[in-house]
Protein backbone atom coordinates (compact mmCIF):
# COMPACT_ATOMS: atom_id res chain seq x y z
CA UNK A 1 0.00 0.00 0.00
CA UNK A 2 1.30 3.41 -0.92
CA UNK A 3 -0.77 6.59 -0.85
CA UNK A 4 -0.47 10.33 -0.83
CA UNK A 5 -3.19 12.43 0.75
CA UNK A 6 -3.96 15.98 1.88
CA UNK A 7 -3.36 16.39 5.60
CA UNK A 8 -6.73 18.18 6.09
CA UNK A 9 -8.73 15.42 4.37
CA UNK A 10 -6.95 12.67 6.31
CA UNK A 11 -7.35 14.55 9.58
CA UNK A 12 -11.08 15.04 9.04
CA UNK A 13 -11.64 11.35 8.31
CA UNK A 14 -9.47 10.20 11.20
CA UNK A 15 -11.39 12.55 13.50
CA UNK A 16 -14.61 10.87 12.36
CA UNK A 17 -13.47 7.31 12.95
CA UNK A 18 -11.15 7.58 15.96
CA UNK A 19 -13.96 8.55 18.36
CA UNK A 20 -15.23 4.98 18.55
CA UNK A 21 -11.83 3.58 19.56
CA UNK A 22 -11.48 3.03 23.30
CA UNK A 23 -8.29 4.32 24.96
CA UNK A 24 -7.63 0.94 26.50
CA UNK A 25 -8.31 -2.28 24.70
CA UNK A 26 -7.81 -5.87 25.79
CA UNK A 27 -7.81 -6.85 22.11
CA UNK A 28 -4.89 -4.96 20.45
CA UNK A 29 -6.41 -4.73 16.98
CA UNK A 30 -9.42 -2.80 18.35
CA UNK A 31 -6.98 0.06 19.03
CA UNK A 32 -6.20 0.18 15.33
CA UNK A 33 -7.81 1.80 12.33
CA UNK A 34 -8.20 -0.32 9.24
CA UNK A 35 -6.84 1.51 6.19
CA UNK A 36 -7.66 0.20 2.74
CA UNK A 37 -6.44 2.00 -0.37
CA UNK A 38 -8.29 1.06 -3.53
CA UNK A 39 -9.57 2.82 -6.65
CA UNK A 40 -8.44 6.31 -5.70
CA UNK A 41 -10.01 6.12 -2.26
CA UNK A 42 -8.68 5.51 1.23
CA UNK A 43 -11.24 3.72 3.39
CA UNK A 44 -10.81 4.07 7.15
CA UNK A 45 -12.65 1.77 9.55
CA UNK A 46 -12.69 1.52 13.34
CA UNK A 47 -14.77 -0.60 15.69
CA UNK A 48 -15.25 -1.45 19.35
CA UNK A 49 -17.19 -4.59 18.35
CA UNK A 50 -20.48 -2.85 19.18
CA UNK A 51 -20.11 0.13 16.85
CA UNK A 52 -18.26 0.55 13.59
CA UNK A 53 -17.47 3.69 11.60
CA UNK A 54 -16.30 3.69 8.02
CA UNK A 55 -15.22 6.89 6.30
CA UNK A 56 -13.90 7.07 2.76
CA UNK A 57 -11.74 9.87 1.48
CA UNK A 58 -10.07 10.59 -1.86
CA UNK A 59 -6.37 9.81 -2.00
CA UNK A 60 -3.68 9.39 -4.61
CA UNK A 61 -3.16 5.63 -4.53
CA UNK A 62 0.18 4.56 -5.99
CA UNK A 63 -0.12 0.99 -4.77
CA UNK A 64 -3.35 -0.58 -3.58
CA UNK A 65 -3.43 -2.52 -0.32
CA UNK A 66 -4.47 -2.42 3.29
CA UNK A 67 -3.27 -2.58 6.87
CA UNK A 68 -4.22 -1.50 10.38
CA UNK A 69 -2.38 1.07 12.51
CA UNK A 70 -2.90 2.53 16.02
CA UNK A 71 -5.84 4.92 15.58
CA UNK A 72 -5.18 7.45 18.35
CA UNK A 73 -1.46 7.69 17.60
CA UNK A 74 -2.09 8.20 13.91
CA UNK A 75 -4.76 10.79 14.70
CA UNK A 76 -2.41 12.66 17.05
CA UNK A 77 0.39 12.67 14.48
CA UNK A 78 -1.84 14.00 11.69
CA UNK A 79 -3.38 16.56 14.05
CA UNK A 80 0.05 18.00 14.80
CA UNK A 81 1.12 18.24 11.16
CA UNK A 82 0.98 21.72 9.64
CA UNK A 83 -2.00 22.82 7.54
CA UNK A 84 -1.55 22.24 3.83
CA UNK A 85 0.89 19.37 4.31
CA UNK A 86 0.85 16.35 2.03
CA UNK A 87 1.07 13.02 3.80
CA UNK A 88 2.70 9.98 2.22
CA UNK A 89 1.89 6.63 3.80
CA UNK A 90 3.72 3.48 2.77
CA UNK A 91 3.37 -0.07 4.04
CA UNK A 92 6.84 -1.46 4.72
CA UNK A 93 8.77 -4.30 6.29
CA UNK A 94 6.63 -6.99 4.74
CA UNK A 95 3.46 -5.38 6.12
CA UNK A 96 4.69 -5.04 9.72
CA UNK A 97 4.92 -1.25 9.76
CA UNK A 98 3.87 1.87 7.93
CA UNK A 99 6.00 4.90 7.32
CA UNK A 100 4.35 8.29 7.35
CA UNK A 101 6.14 11.24 5.81
CA UNK A 102 5.05 14.85 5.69
CA UNK A 103 7.61 17.54 4.82
CA UNK A 104 10.58 16.87 7.07
CA UNK A 105 8.64 14.74 9.55
CA UNK A 106 9.01 10.94 9.46
CA UNK A 107 7.15 8.42 11.55
CA UNK A 108 7.01 4.64 11.59
CA UNK A 109 4.13 2.82 13.21
CA UNK A 110 3.68 -0.86 13.97
CA UNK A 111 0.85 -2.52 12.06
CA UNK A 112 -1.38 -5.54 12.33
CA UNK A 113 -2.68 -7.35 9.22
CA UNK A 114 -5.93 -6.09 7.68
CA UNK A 115 -7.36 -9.63 7.63
CA UNK A 116 -7.30 -9.71 11.44
CA UNK A 117 -9.57 -6.68 11.68
CA UNK A 118 -13.07 -7.67 12.87
CA UNK A 119 -16.03 -6.58 10.78
CA UNK A 120 -19.43 -5.62 12.10
CA UNK A 121 -21.84 -6.79 9.43
CA UNK A 122 -24.62 -4.36 8.66
CA UNK A 123 -26.42 -6.16 5.84
CA UNK A 124 -29.71 -8.06 6.29
CA UNK A 125 -31.40 -4.87 7.49
CA UNK A 126 -35.16 -5.24 7.18
CA UNK A 127 -36.14 -1.57 6.99
CA UNK A 128 -34.51 1.29 5.14
CA UNK A 129 -35.54 4.91 4.90
CA UNK A 130 -34.14 8.41 4.61
CA UNK A 131 -34.56 11.04 7.30
CA UNK A 132 -33.65 14.72 7.24
CA UNK A 133 -30.46 15.41 9.16
CA UNK A 134 -32.17 18.27 11.02
CA UNK A 135 -34.95 15.91 12.13
CA UNK A 136 -32.43 13.33 13.30
CA UNK A 137 -30.42 15.96 15.14
CA UNK A 138 -33.61 17.21 16.85
CA UNK A 139 -34.56 13.70 17.92
CA UNK A 140 -31.19 13.29 19.60
CA UNK A 141 -30.96 16.80 21.07
CA UNK A 142 -34.41 16.70 22.66
CA UNK A 143 -34.08 13.30 24.27
CA UNK A 144 -30.51 12.26 24.99
CA UNK A 145 -30.21 14.24 28.21
CA UNK A 146 -32.74 11.83 29.76
CA UNK A 147 -30.82 8.64 28.88
CA UNK A 148 -29.97 6.61 31.96
CA UNK A 149 -26.29 6.06 32.66
CA UNK A 150 -27.01 3.36 35.22
CA UNK A 151 -25.65 0.12 33.81
CA UNK A 152 -27.93 -1.96 36.02
CA UNK A 153 -30.83 -0.72 33.91
CA UNK A 154 -29.15 -1.40 30.60
CA UNK A 155 -32.45 -1.21 28.68
CA UNK A 156 -32.63 2.52 29.53
CA UNK A 157 -29.07 3.23 28.33
CA UNK A 158 -30.21 4.53 24.95
CA UNK A 159 -32.91 6.21 22.90
CA UNK A 160 -35.96 4.12 22.08
CA UNK A 161 -36.84 4.74 18.46
CA UNK A 162 -40.10 3.43 17.14
CA UNK A 163 -43.04 3.95 14.79
CA UNK A 164 -46.44 4.77 16.18
CA UNK A 165 -49.85 5.45 14.66
CA UNK A 166 -52.07 7.86 16.58
CA UNK A 167 -55.45 9.07 15.36
CA UNK A 168 -54.60 7.83 11.88
CA UNK A 169 -51.32 9.78 11.80
CA UNK A 170 -48.12 7.80 11.34
CA UNK A 171 -45.39 9.03 13.63
CA UNK A 172 -41.79 8.33 14.47
CA UNK A 173 -40.92 8.70 18.12
CA UNK A 174 -37.70 9.00 20.05
CA UNK A 175 -37.99 8.39 23.80
CA UNK A 176 -35.45 8.34 26.62
CA UNK A 177 -35.90 8.00 30.35
CA UNK A 178 -33.73 7.49 33.40
CA UNK A 179 -36.64 6.71 35.68
CA UNK A 180 -36.77 10.24 37.09
CA UNK A 181 -37.63 12.09 33.88
CA UNK A 182 -38.72 11.17 30.40
CA UNK A 183 -38.29 12.95 27.07
CA UNK A 184 -40.31 12.17 23.97
CA UNK A 185 -40.06 13.74 20.54
CA UNK A 186 -42.33 12.76 17.67
CA UNK A 187 -42.47 13.69 14.00
CA UNK A 188 -44.08 12.38 10.82
CA UNK A 189 -42.91 8.87 9.97
CA UNK A 190 -40.47 8.89 7.03
CA UNK A 191 -41.47 6.84 3.94
CA UNK A 192 -40.19 3.31 4.24
CA UNK A 193 -40.18 3.27 8.04
CA UNK A 194 -43.64 1.71 8.32
CA UNK A 195 -43.54 -1.46 10.39
CA UNK A 196 -40.01 -0.84 11.65
CA UNK A 197 -39.26 -2.65 14.90
CA UNK A 198 -38.88 -0.54 18.03
CA UNK A 199 -35.16 -0.32 18.73
CA UNK A 200 -32.99 0.99 21.58
CA UNK A 201 -29.99 2.83 20.15
CA UNK A 202 -27.09 2.86 22.67
CA UNK A 203 -25.93 6.19 24.10
CA UNK A 204 -22.43 5.84 22.68
CA UNK A 205 -23.88 5.42 19.18
CA UNK A 206 -26.24 8.34 19.73
CA UNK A 207 -23.38 10.61 20.84
CA UNK A 208 -21.12 9.48 17.99
CA UNK A 209 -23.88 9.98 15.43
CA UNK A 210 -24.70 13.42 16.77
CA UNK A 211 -21.07 14.46 16.51
CA UNK A 212 -20.80 13.17 12.96
CA UNK A 213 -24.00 14.71 11.59
CA UNK A 214 -23.29 18.05 13.18
CA UNK A 215 -21.46 19.01 10.00
CA UNK A 216 -23.03 19.96 6.64
CA UNK A 217 -25.18 16.87 6.26
CA UNK A 218 -28.69 17.30 4.86
CA UNK A 219 -30.12 13.79 4.97
CA UNK A 220 -29.24 10.44 6.50
CA UNK A 221 -30.04 7.01 5.09
CA UNK A 222 -31.06 4.64 7.88
CA UNK A 223 -31.20 0.87 7.75
CA UNK A 224 -32.26 -1.21 10.72
CA UNK A 225 -33.25 -4.61 11.94
CA UNK A 226 -34.06 -5.92 15.40
CA UNK A 227 -30.37 -6.22 16.25
CA UNK A 228 -28.50 -3.59 14.22
CA UNK A 229 -28.82 -0.08 12.90
CA UNK A 230 -26.85 1.66 10.18
CA UNK A 231 -26.63 5.36 9.39
CA UNK A 232 -25.12 6.40 6.06
CA UNK A 233 -24.39 9.95 4.96
CA UNK A 234 -21.72 11.59 2.83
CA UNK A 235 -18.92 9.03 2.79
CA UNK A 236 -19.59 7.84 6.34
CA UNK A 237 -21.28 4.62 7.43
CA UNK A 238 -21.97 4.16 11.14
CA UNK A 239 -23.16 0.68 12.09
CA UNK A 240 -24.15 -0.24 15.63
CA UNK A 241 -25.55 -3.10 17.60
CA UNK A 242 -28.76 -2.27 19.43
CA UNK A 243 -29.47 -2.75 23.11
CA UNK A 244 -30.86 -6.22 23.63
CA UNK A 245 -33.65 -5.36 26.05
CA UNK A 246 -37.28 -4.35 26.21
CA UNK A 247 -38.04 -0.67 26.59
CA UNK A 248 -40.82 -0.24 29.15
CA UNK A 249 -44.34 0.71 28.09
CA UNK A 250 -43.50 4.37 28.71
CA UNK A 251 -46.93 5.67 27.70
CA UNK A 252 -48.30 4.37 30.97
CA UNK A 253 -46.26 6.92 32.93
CA UNK A 254 -47.43 9.90 30.86
CA UNK A 255 -50.36 11.23 32.88
CA UNK A 256 -53.57 12.04 31.04
CA UNK A 257 -55.49 13.88 33.71
CA UNK A 258 -53.16 16.66 34.89
CA UNK A 259 -55.62 19.56 35.10
CA UNK A 260 -53.52 22.38 36.59
CA UNK A 261 -51.68 24.29 33.89
CA UNK A 262 -49.00 26.89 34.33
CA UNK A 263 -47.40 28.90 31.52
CA UNK A 264 -44.22 30.86 32.12
CA UNK A 265 -41.72 32.70 29.96
CA UNK A 266 -38.96 30.22 29.18
CA UNK A 267 -35.97 32.50 29.53
CA UNK A 268 -37.13 34.06 32.79
CA UNK A 269 -37.94 30.66 34.26
CA UNK A 270 -34.61 29.17 33.23
CA UNK A 271 -32.62 32.05 34.66
CA UNK A 272 -34.60 32.15 37.90
CA UNK A 273 -34.23 28.40 38.50
CA UNK A 274 -30.53 28.70 37.80
CA UNK A 275 -30.15 31.58 40.28
CA UNK A 276 -32.22 30.07 43.10
CA UNK A 277 -30.63 26.64 42.78
CA UNK A 278 -27.26 28.16 43.63
CA UNK A 279 -28.37 27.80 47.23
CA UNK A 280 -29.90 24.32 47.08
CA UNK A 281 -27.86 21.56 48.62
CA UNK A 282 -25.13 20.06 46.47
CA UNK A 283 -26.56 16.59 46.70
CA UNK A 284 -30.28 16.98 46.12
CA UNK A 285 -30.38 20.23 44.10
CA UNK A 286 -33.99 20.62 45.22
CA UNK A 287 -36.07 23.69 44.45
CA UNK A 288 -39.63 24.22 45.48
CA UNK A 289 -42.28 25.79 43.26
CA UNK A 290 -45.10 27.55 45.09
CA UNK A 291 -47.91 28.27 42.65
CA UNK A 292 -50.69 30.78 43.22
CA UNK A 293 -52.95 32.63 40.83
CA UNK A 294 -50.68 34.63 38.53
CA UNK A 295 -47.49 34.02 40.50
CA UNK A 296 -44.77 31.45 40.98
CA UNK A 297 -42.40 31.55 43.92
CA UNK A 298 -39.20 29.58 43.51
CA UNK A 299 -37.56 28.59 46.77
CA UNK A 300 -34.37 26.81 47.73
CA UNK A 301 -32.85 26.15 51.10
CA UNK A 302 -29.68 24.58 52.31
CA UNK A 303 -28.82 23.92 55.95
CA UNK A 304 -25.28 25.13 55.21
CA UNK A 305 -25.63 27.78 52.52
CA UNK A 306 -28.81 29.63 53.47
CA UNK A 307 -31.96 30.20 51.45
CA UNK A 308 -33.20 31.88 48.27
CA UNK A 309 -36.50 32.90 46.73
CA UNK A 310 -37.53 34.48 43.47
CA UNK A 311 -40.97 35.38 42.22
CA UNK A 312 -42.14 35.13 38.62
CA UNK A 313 -45.30 36.18 36.83
CA UNK A 314 -47.09 33.20 35.35
CA UNK A 315 -50.39 32.26 33.76
CA UNK A 316 -51.99 30.05 36.39
CA UNK A 317 -55.56 30.02 37.64
CA UNK A 318 -55.93 26.69 39.48
CA UNK A 319 -55.78 26.16 43.24
CA UNK A 320 -52.59 26.97 45.11
CA UNK A 321 -50.04 24.18 45.24
CA UNK A 322 -46.44 23.43 46.13
CA UNK A 323 -44.19 20.99 44.36
CA UNK A 324 -40.47 20.23 44.54
CA UNK A 325 -38.14 19.33 41.69
CA UNK A 326 -34.48 18.61 41.15
CA UNK A 327 -33.28 21.92 39.70
CA UNK A 328 -30.80 20.17 37.40
CA UNK A 329 -33.65 18.21 35.83
CA UNK A 330 -35.74 21.38 35.49
CA UNK A 331 -32.87 23.17 33.78
CA UNK A 332 -32.12 20.20 31.52
CA UNK A 333 -35.69 20.31 30.24
CA UNK A 334 -35.91 24.11 30.12
CA UNK A 335 -32.80 24.11 27.91
CA UNK A 336 -34.67 22.00 25.35
CA UNK A 337 -37.50 24.52 25.07
CA UNK A 338 -37.04 26.77 22.06
CA UNK A 339 -40.39 28.58 22.29
CA UNK A 340 -40.91 31.72 24.33
CA UNK A 341 -43.24 29.94 26.73
CA UNK A 342 -42.96 26.74 28.69
CA UNK A 343 -46.10 24.97 29.85
CA UNK A 344 -46.44 22.79 32.94
CA UNK A 345 -49.34 20.38 33.40
CA UNK A 346 -49.52 19.40 37.07
CA UNK A 347 -51.62 17.14 39.27
CA UNK A 348 -50.16 17.20 42.78
CA UNK A 349 -46.85 17.26 44.59
CA UNK A 350 -46.31 13.51 44.33
CA UNK A 351 -47.32 12.82 40.74
CA UNK A 352 -45.55 13.18 37.40
CA UNK A 353 -45.67 16.62 35.79
CA UNK A 354 -45.84 17.14 32.03
CA UNK A 355 -43.73 19.92 30.54
CA UNK A 356 -44.28 21.14 26.98
CA UNK A 357 -42.71 23.55 24.56
CA UNK A 358 -45.54 25.89 23.52
CA UNK A 359 -43.93 26.26 20.10
CA UNK A 360 -43.38 22.55 19.46
CA UNK A 361 -46.26 20.08 19.63
CA UNK A 362 -43.92 17.18 18.99
CA UNK A 363 -41.89 17.51 22.17
CA UNK A 364 -43.09 16.29 25.56
CA UNK A 365 -41.27 15.89 28.85
CA UNK A 366 -42.37 14.11 32.02
CA UNK A 367 -40.69 14.97 35.30
CA UNK A 368 -41.13 13.28 38.64
CA UNK A 369 -41.15 15.63 41.62
CA UNK A 370 -39.06 15.53 44.78
CA UNK A 371 -40.56 15.29 48.18
CA UNK A 372 -39.25 18.48 49.80
Amino acid sequence: MKISIERAALFRSLAHVQSVVERRNAIPILSNVLMQARGGMLKLNTTDMDTSIIDSVEAYVTMEGGTTAPAHTLYDIVRKLPDGAHVDITLEDGGNQISLRAGRSNFTLSCLPEDDFPTLQGDDLSHEFTIGADDLRAMIERTRFAISSEETRYYLNGIYWHAKEENGVKLMRAVATDGHRLARLEMPLPDGAEGMPGVIVPKKTVDTLYRLIAEDVTSVHVGLSEHKIRFAFDNIVLTSKLIDGTFPDYERVIPAGNDKTMAVETRLFREAVDRVSTISSEKSRAVKLVLAEGSLMLQAISPDAGSATEELEIAYSSSEMEIGFNSVYLLDIAKQIEGEEIKFELADSGSPTIIRDMSDDGALYVLMPMRV
Binding site: R181, R252, V253, V290, P303, S307
Partner: protein, 251 residues
Protein backbone atom coordinates in the same frame (compact mmCIF):
# COMPACT_ATOMS: atom_id res chain seq x y z
CA UNK B 1 -40.91 34.54 53.47
CA UNK B 2 -43.00 31.39 53.27
CA UNK B 3 -42.02 28.73 55.77
CA UNK B 4 -39.77 26.18 54.18
CA UNK B 5 -38.86 23.51 56.72
CA UNK B 6 -35.55 21.74 56.29
CA UNK B 7 -36.26 18.11 55.50
CA UNK B 8 -34.25 15.70 53.44
CA UNK B 9 -35.57 15.91 49.88
CA UNK B 10 -36.35 12.61 48.17
CA UNK B 11 -36.52 12.17 44.42
CA UNK B 12 -39.57 10.18 43.32
CA UNK B 13 -39.33 7.87 40.35
CA UNK B 14 -41.59 7.11 37.42
CA UNK B 15 -43.59 3.95 37.84
CA UNK B 16 -42.23 2.35 34.69
CA UNK B 17 -44.04 -0.93 34.09
CA UNK B 18 -42.22 -4.16 33.39
CA UNK B 19 -43.39 -7.16 31.44
CA UNK B 20 -43.84 -10.38 33.37
CA UNK B 21 -42.54 -13.34 31.40
CA UNK B 22 -45.47 -15.76 31.17
CA UNK B 23 -44.15 -18.43 28.84
CA UNK B 24 -43.99 -22.09 29.75
CA UNK B 25 -40.19 -21.92 29.49
CA UNK B 26 -40.22 -19.14 32.10
CA UNK B 27 -41.94 -21.39 34.64
CA UNK B 28 -39.58 -23.27 36.91
CA UNK B 29 -40.74 -26.81 37.63
CA UNK B 30 -40.06 -28.05 41.16
CA UNK B 31 -41.40 -30.67 43.51
CA UNK B 32 -44.06 -28.29 44.83
CA UNK B 33 -45.62 -27.57 41.45
CA UNK B 34 -44.82 -30.51 39.18
CA UNK B 35 -48.30 -31.98 39.56
CA UNK B 36 -49.94 -28.75 38.39
CA UNK B 37 -47.43 -28.33 35.56
CA UNK B 38 -48.16 -31.90 34.49
CA UNK B 39 -51.86 -31.07 34.17
CA UNK B 40 -51.17 -28.03 32.02
CA UNK B 41 -48.63 -29.88 29.86
CA UNK B 42 -51.15 -32.70 29.29
CA UNK B 43 -53.82 -30.36 27.91
CA UNK B 44 -56.05 -31.12 25.96
CA UNK B 45 -55.74 -34.68 27.23
CA UNK B 46 -57.80 -34.03 30.37
CA UNK B 47 -60.11 -36.68 31.81
CA UNK B 48 -62.67 -34.13 32.87
CA UNK B 49 -64.19 -30.86 31.70
CA UNK B 50 -62.05 -28.73 33.93
CA UNK B 51 -59.45 -28.22 36.63
CA UNK B 52 -59.04 -26.22 39.80
CA UNK B 53 -55.50 -24.91 40.27
CA UNK B 54 -55.01 -23.95 43.91
CA UNK B 55 -52.17 -22.70 46.06
CA UNK B 56 -51.00 -19.75 48.18
CA UNK B 57 -50.70 -16.21 46.90
CA UNK B 58 -47.92 -15.68 44.41
CA UNK B 59 -47.15 -19.38 43.94
CA UNK B 60 -47.43 -19.15 40.15
CA UNK B 61 -51.10 -19.99 39.53
CA UNK B 62 -51.61 -17.03 37.21
CA UNK B 63 -48.42 -17.80 35.33
CA UNK B 64 -49.42 -21.42 34.80
CA UNK B 65 -52.97 -20.36 33.94
CA UNK B 66 -51.52 -17.98 31.32
CA UNK B 67 -49.50 -20.86 29.86
CA UNK B 68 -52.69 -22.92 29.63
CA UNK B 69 -54.59 -19.97 28.18
CA UNK B 70 -51.95 -19.66 25.49
CA UNK B 71 -52.34 -23.35 24.59
CA UNK B 72 -56.12 -23.52 24.80
CA UNK B 73 -56.91 -20.00 23.54
CA UNK B 74 -59.30 -19.82 26.47
CA UNK B 75 -61.51 -16.80 26.98
CA UNK B 76 -60.46 -15.01 30.15
CA UNK B 77 -63.53 -14.36 32.27
CA UNK B 78 -63.61 -11.30 34.48
CA UNK B 79 -66.41 -9.39 36.19
CA UNK B 80 -67.61 -8.07 32.82
CA UNK B 81 -68.65 -11.63 31.99
CA UNK B 82 -71.47 -11.21 34.51
CA UNK B 83 -73.11 -8.48 32.42
CA UNK B 84 -72.44 -9.70 28.91
CA UNK B 85 -73.42 -12.76 27.00
CA UNK B 86 -69.93 -13.22 25.56
CA UNK B 87 -68.87 -15.71 28.24
CA UNK B 88 -72.02 -17.75 27.87
CA UNK B 89 -71.70 -17.76 24.07
CA UNK B 90 -68.12 -19.00 24.38
CA UNK B 91 -69.24 -21.73 26.79
CA UNK B 92 -72.04 -22.76 24.39
CA UNK B 93 -69.51 -23.04 21.57
CA UNK B 94 -67.34 -25.30 23.70
CA UNK B 95 -64.51 -22.76 23.88
CA UNK B 96 -62.10 -23.06 26.76
CA UNK B 97 -62.70 -20.69 29.69
CA UNK B 98 -60.37 -19.30 32.37
CA UNK B 99 -61.55 -17.75 35.62
CA UNK B 100 -58.89 -16.55 38.03
CA UNK B 101 -59.19 -15.96 41.79
CA UNK B 102 -62.53 -17.68 41.93
CA UNK B 103 -62.50 -17.80 45.77
CA UNK B 104 -62.17 -14.02 45.99
CA UNK B 105 -64.75 -13.39 43.27
CA UNK B 106 -67.33 -15.60 44.96
CA UNK B 107 -66.71 -13.83 48.27
CA UNK B 108 -67.00 -10.34 46.80
CA UNK B 109 -69.66 -10.84 44.09
CA UNK B 110 -72.26 -13.48 45.07
CA UNK B 111 -73.76 -13.26 41.54
CA UNK B 112 -70.75 -15.27 40.37
CA UNK B 113 -72.33 -18.39 41.90
CA UNK B 114 -75.20 -18.43 39.42
CA UNK B 115 -72.98 -17.37 36.54
CA UNK B 116 -70.33 -19.99 37.28
CA UNK B 117 -72.92 -22.74 37.53
CA UNK B 118 -74.38 -21.84 34.12
CA UNK B 119 -71.00 -21.41 32.49
CA UNK B 120 -69.77 -24.72 33.85
CA UNK B 121 -72.91 -26.60 32.72
CA UNK B 122 -72.89 -25.01 29.26
CA UNK B 123 -69.19 -25.70 28.83
CA UNK B 124 -69.52 -29.32 29.89
CA UNK B 125 -72.53 -29.83 27.58
CA UNK B 126 -70.63 -28.36 24.62
CA UNK B 127 -67.51 -30.41 25.36
CA UNK B 128 -65.46 -27.39 26.45
CA UNK B 129 -63.13 -27.00 29.39
CA UNK B 130 -62.75 -24.56 32.25
CA UNK B 131 -59.73 -23.72 34.41
CA UNK B 132 -60.29 -22.09 37.77
CA UNK B 133 -57.59 -20.70 40.03
CA UNK B 134 -57.97 -20.17 43.75
CA UNK B 135 -55.94 -19.83 46.90
CA UNK B 136 -58.15 -22.37 48.65
CA UNK B 137 -60.04 -25.58 47.92
CA UNK B 138 -63.75 -25.33 46.95
CA UNK B 139 -64.77 -26.51 50.43
CA UNK B 140 -63.64 -23.12 51.72
CA UNK B 141 -65.41 -21.07 49.04
CA UNK B 142 -68.51 -19.06 49.89
CA UNK B 143 -71.05 -21.09 47.93
CA UNK B 144 -74.76 -21.37 48.78
CA UNK B 145 -75.88 -23.25 45.68
CA UNK B 146 -75.70 -27.00 46.36
CA UNK B 147 -75.44 -27.76 42.60
CA UNK B 148 -72.38 -25.56 42.28
CA UNK B 149 -70.87 -27.03 45.45
CA UNK B 150 -71.16 -30.57 44.13
CA UNK B 151 -69.83 -29.70 40.65
CA UNK B 152 -66.82 -27.90 42.09
CA UNK B 153 -66.15 -30.74 44.51
CA UNK B 154 -66.17 -33.17 41.61
CA UNK B 155 -63.63 -31.26 39.53
CA UNK B 156 -60.02 -32.47 39.62
CA UNK B 157 -57.66 -30.33 41.70
CA UNK B 158 -53.99 -29.62 41.24
CA UNK B 159 -52.10 -27.99 44.08
CA UNK B 160 -49.07 -25.76 43.95
CA UNK B 161 -47.54 -26.19 47.39
CA UNK B 162 -45.11 -24.04 49.38
CA UNK B 163 -41.81 -23.58 47.60
CA UNK B 164 -38.50 -25.32 48.23
CA UNK B 165 -35.13 -23.51 48.24
CA UNK B 166 -34.35 -24.15 44.59
CA UNK B 167 -37.69 -22.73 43.51
CA UNK B 168 -37.42 -19.70 45.78
CA UNK B 169 -34.08 -18.87 44.21
CA UNK B 170 -35.44 -19.38 40.70
CA UNK B 171 -38.40 -17.14 41.45
CA UNK B 172 -36.14 -14.43 42.81
CA UNK B 173 -34.04 -14.53 39.64
CA UNK B 174 -37.21 -14.42 37.56
CA UNK B 175 -38.38 -11.34 39.45
CA UNK B 176 -35.07 -9.60 38.67
CA UNK B 177 -35.14 -10.79 35.06
CA UNK B 178 -38.71 -9.58 34.54
CA UNK B 179 -37.51 -6.14 35.60
CA UNK B 180 -34.38 -6.48 33.39
CA UNK B 181 -32.39 -5.71 36.52
CA UNK B 182 -28.80 -6.94 36.60
CA UNK B 183 -27.78 -8.18 40.06
CA UNK B 184 -24.90 -10.22 41.40
CA UNK B 185 -25.35 -13.78 42.55
CA UNK B 186 -24.05 -12.93 46.04
CA UNK B 187 -27.02 -10.59 46.55
CA UNK B 188 -29.49 -13.40 45.88
CA UNK B 189 -27.54 -15.81 48.10
CA UNK B 190 -27.45 -13.22 50.87
CA UNK B 191 -31.14 -12.41 50.76
CA UNK B 192 -32.67 -15.88 50.46
CA UNK B 193 -31.81 -17.19 53.94
CA UNK B 194 -32.90 -13.88 55.49
CA UNK B 195 -36.28 -13.36 53.90
CA UNK B 196 -39.69 -14.83 54.62
CA UNK B 197 -39.98 -18.05 52.64
CA UNK B 198 -42.85 -17.05 50.42
CA UNK B 199 -43.31 -15.84 46.86
CA UNK B 200 -45.11 -12.63 47.89
CA UNK B 201 -42.24 -11.71 50.24
CA UNK B 202 -39.73 -12.22 47.43
CA UNK B 203 -41.81 -10.21 44.99
CA UNK B 204 -42.22 -7.35 47.47
CA UNK B 205 -38.52 -7.36 48.24
CA UNK B 206 -37.45 -7.22 44.58
CA UNK B 207 -40.11 -4.59 43.90
CA UNK B 208 -38.80 -2.35 46.67
CA UNK B 209 -35.15 -2.93 45.86
CA UNK B 210 -35.90 -1.95 42.25
CA UNK B 211 -37.75 1.17 43.35
CA UNK B 212 -35.29 2.32 45.99
CA UNK B 213 -32.25 1.78 43.77
CA UNK B 214 -33.97 3.76 41.01
CA UNK B 215 -34.90 6.62 43.33
CA UNK B 216 -31.45 6.81 44.89
CA UNK B 217 -29.56 6.03 41.69
CA UNK B 218 -27.73 3.25 43.48
CA UNK B 219 -26.92 -0.17 42.18
CA UNK B 220 -29.00 -2.95 43.77
CA UNK B 221 -26.11 -4.26 45.84
CA UNK B 222 -25.86 -6.50 48.88
CA UNK B 223 -25.43 -3.59 51.36
CA UNK B 224 -28.53 -1.88 49.96
CA UNK B 225 -30.40 -5.19 50.18
CA UNK B 226 -29.32 -5.54 53.81
CA UNK B 227 -30.72 -2.11 54.69
CA UNK B 228 -33.95 -2.89 52.89
CA UNK B 229 -34.35 -6.27 54.59
CA UNK B 230 -33.97 -4.59 57.97
CA UNK B 231 -36.47 -1.87 57.03
CA UNK B 232 -38.97 -4.41 55.79
CA UNK B 233 -38.70 -6.38 59.01
CA UNK B 234 -38.88 -3.35 61.29
CA UNK B 235 -41.47 -1.28 59.42
CA UNK B 236 -43.62 -3.15 56.92
CA UNK B 237 -45.07 -0.37 54.76
CA UNK B 238 -48.75 0.32 54.15
CA UNK B 239 -48.09 -0.68 50.56
CA UNK B 240 -46.73 -4.02 51.74
CA UNK B 241 -49.74 -4.54 53.96
CA UNK B 242 -52.06 -3.76 51.07
CA UNK B 243 -50.20 -6.10 48.75
CA UNK B 244 -50.32 -8.85 51.36
CA UNK B 245 -54.08 -8.74 51.21
CA UNK B 246 -54.24 -8.36 47.45
CA UNK B 247 -55.12 -11.22 45.17
CA UNK B 248 -53.73 -11.93 41.73
CA UNK B 249 -50.06 -11.37 42.33
CA UNK B 250 -48.76 -12.04 38.87
CA UNK B 251 -45.60 -13.85 39.92
Amino acid sequence: MTEFPVIKPRQLSLDLPFRTARGREDFTVAECNKLAVGWVDRWPDWPNAGLILHGPEGCGKSHLAAVWQGKSKAMVLDDRALDTSAGRAAADRGDALLLEDVDVRLAVVPAWQEALLHLYDASRLAGGAILLTSRTLPSAWLIDLPDLQSRMAALPKAEIALPDDRLLEAVMWKQFNDRQLKVEQDLVRYVLPRIERSFPAIRRFVDRLDKISEERRQKPTRPLAAVLLKDMTDFPSAEDARKCGHHGSGT
